[in-house]
Amino acid sequence: MGTAANAETVSDQHDVRRELGGYKSLVRQNIDNKNVLYLHVTGVHCAGCIQKVESAVYKNKDVDLARLNFSTGRLNIIWDGSPDVADDFVHDIESMGYGVQPFNPESEKNEDSHQDRFLLLCLGVAAFAIGNIMLLSLGLWITTAETMGVATRSFMHWVAAIIAIPTIIFAGRPFFFSALKALRNRHTNMDVPISLALILATGMSVFELLQNGEHVYFDSAVMLTFFLLIGRYLDFRARRSAKRAATDLMQTLSGFATIINGGKHERIPIRDVREGMIVSVSSGEKFPVDGTIHDGTTSVDTSLVTGETVPHNCTAGDAVYAGTLNLSAPIKVLVSKRADDTLLADIVRLMEKAEQGQATYVRLADKAATLYTPFVHSLALIAFLFWLFIGHMAWQDAMMIAVTVLIITCPCALGLAVPVVQVLGSGLLMKHGVLLKSGDALEKLAKIDTVFLDKTGTLTIGKPALVDQSNEDTMQLAASLASHSKHPLSQALVNAYGGGDLLNFTDISETPGYGLEGTYDGQIFRLGQHEWVHTSKPLNNDDKGQTIYFASDDGKIAGSYIFQDDLKHDAAAVIKSMQNSGLKTCLISGDHNAEVERISAQVNITDYHAEMKPDEKYTLLENAKKGGSNVLMVGDGLNDAPVLMAADISMAPGSAIDMAQNAADIVFMGDGLSQVTFTYDVARKTQSLILQNFVLAAIYNMIAIPFAFMGYITPFIAALAMSGSSLIVILNSFRLKFTRNQRT
């Protein structure tokens, strides 16, 4: 089979896929009887991408709406006419190089976007209320009852009450609900004192209002709500994206497979594929399910599942796994497991298990709150009882002092101490190409004592590079022949040759698993495995890397090329600096023992594990965690995904597959590894700033509480002092901006 014929088969396959594409089965009708389709588009990175994808769909004149959500990758198409054009849309978008998957509308029903709206709405209402109440308060503050008149004052109080009471009931709900939930579970959190302060301050103000009194503090209560909601919203946004991982994984399982049914090709959703069916997989396509090869020979890129860089040769009877990539030839696969039972599905389950494990983590701020709450509450109660019984005050006045104590100790600084530093920290890291995906990532990262590293693509570049060759003269010939193949080693050879002229080979054929054959200048040349090439050169048996051979059929021209997956340029330095910081380093890889040993020797890691399957990696991590270690996992493959999810904290390079990036808490860009240590430095810096903020808040409380307790402070001054302490905390947090990445 020549290349031309090969190309034909591939394009045939494309057409078959287009005809049989099952997307039209996903089209729904809306109330106006128009067609609605949701797609998940991957690979969208910039404004140009948005425009390209949308205008490709708009080319069809029947389309009413094509809107791509940049954040989630969801493309929403609404059109008139026949639902059959759905597959054309998909084909057009795919042909521009974007990935398309069906979007599962059920996964969209997440609580997150609901919660996001809820917080924003509360924040908006509180902002409106505080603006209007301050307008009135300003007048009240700069005058007295004598100059203003009691009637005017109580009118303004009433207006403030009409705005404030519904606002606190409405916008205070995030705190009330959370406090109720905690109390119901017999816990306490920061929201308990917040709720109590809000309710008491409002209640006391209503009481004073009805008495035509002076101590009406709706402004303090609403300001408190507004400030706290800002902190809450920032915190929520920082934490949100982490949750998307599992949803995205299910997307991968929700594609289509081409089955052969009585000689006919049929596209059906992967979840409907059953044992015993025959699935046709074209070259360049991922295997949709686990199975054995029924017919044909091909090479399979298993790097997604095992982390190995070199493709395996598979022929009839060999097992293939869902998620791995069919490289060289179209084949037929006999399905042995349905989609729910595949290796990929196992990984999904491991990840879900890992995600549940993460829920038990108690964040520092919550820990502080459990200590703080009882202290504050008992203090306010003591103040009330003290002034009532020992100070012989009227109960209203004693209550006012108790409310002042509650407001002045309100954990505003505590509530801002963490989110402000985190927002600044993630902003700083983002400028350096590090993306934090979960809000508590930095907090967890600062506590690690062990680092697990994957090999391929993490410590190493992830692509084979030419390290040694026997004969430089044959390079041009060999590279010219290699340029006709998509095999990773062939492409590495072409890359190594650089941009020089390529010779024009004819009659080229590729035998999957063996190599290439082609004719140049009347002579037949072969490139590939030792047994395939008629070469007199001895077989290279040492473990320096993978070797491919090149020879003419008469054996006069011959060469061999050794490829290795090289270390990233700063890998050794980064590992050394980790070890200097007192971190234990451990290499875990799915690759061969010899290769892992070679790499670990180069970066000076003594603790390494080779030929690890995903579940073995997972077990290793679980054991380390049981042993009391806090583990950072750095990895980039699908086989690392469960470990990335289960580790206390995880990082993935930007070159990692989507799934690993989604499972990781932190994604970093760039070719090197120095970002890992930089992020670690920033994490430790943020933690120390957060602790400083706690100390600042504590000092402020120590000064302010005695005054409040003695009754020298009104609730209004208390609200001002509270805001002042929050400002100090925010200013202190800004010192984080001065952290630099010394290594880049």
Binding site: C46, A47, I50, Q51, E54, S55, Y58, D64, L65, A66, L68, N69, F70, S71, T72, S113, D116, R117, L120, L121, G124, V125, F128, G131, N132, L135, L136, M148, G149, T152, F155, M156, V159, I163
Partner: protein, 51 residues
Amino acid sequence: MNILMYLIPIAVLLGLIGLVAFIWTLKSNQYEDLDGAAHRILLDDDEDDLK
């Protein structure tokens, strides 16, 4: 002080208009895709949006 009887309701009303506008932006999903909005501003032709 009678002027306050007019001015305060007017001030509150203006604030309410702002709040209603905010709730409208929230209900019409304008905060769903903030990153996308940041990118879309760079696009030249708006004819797709005018449809």
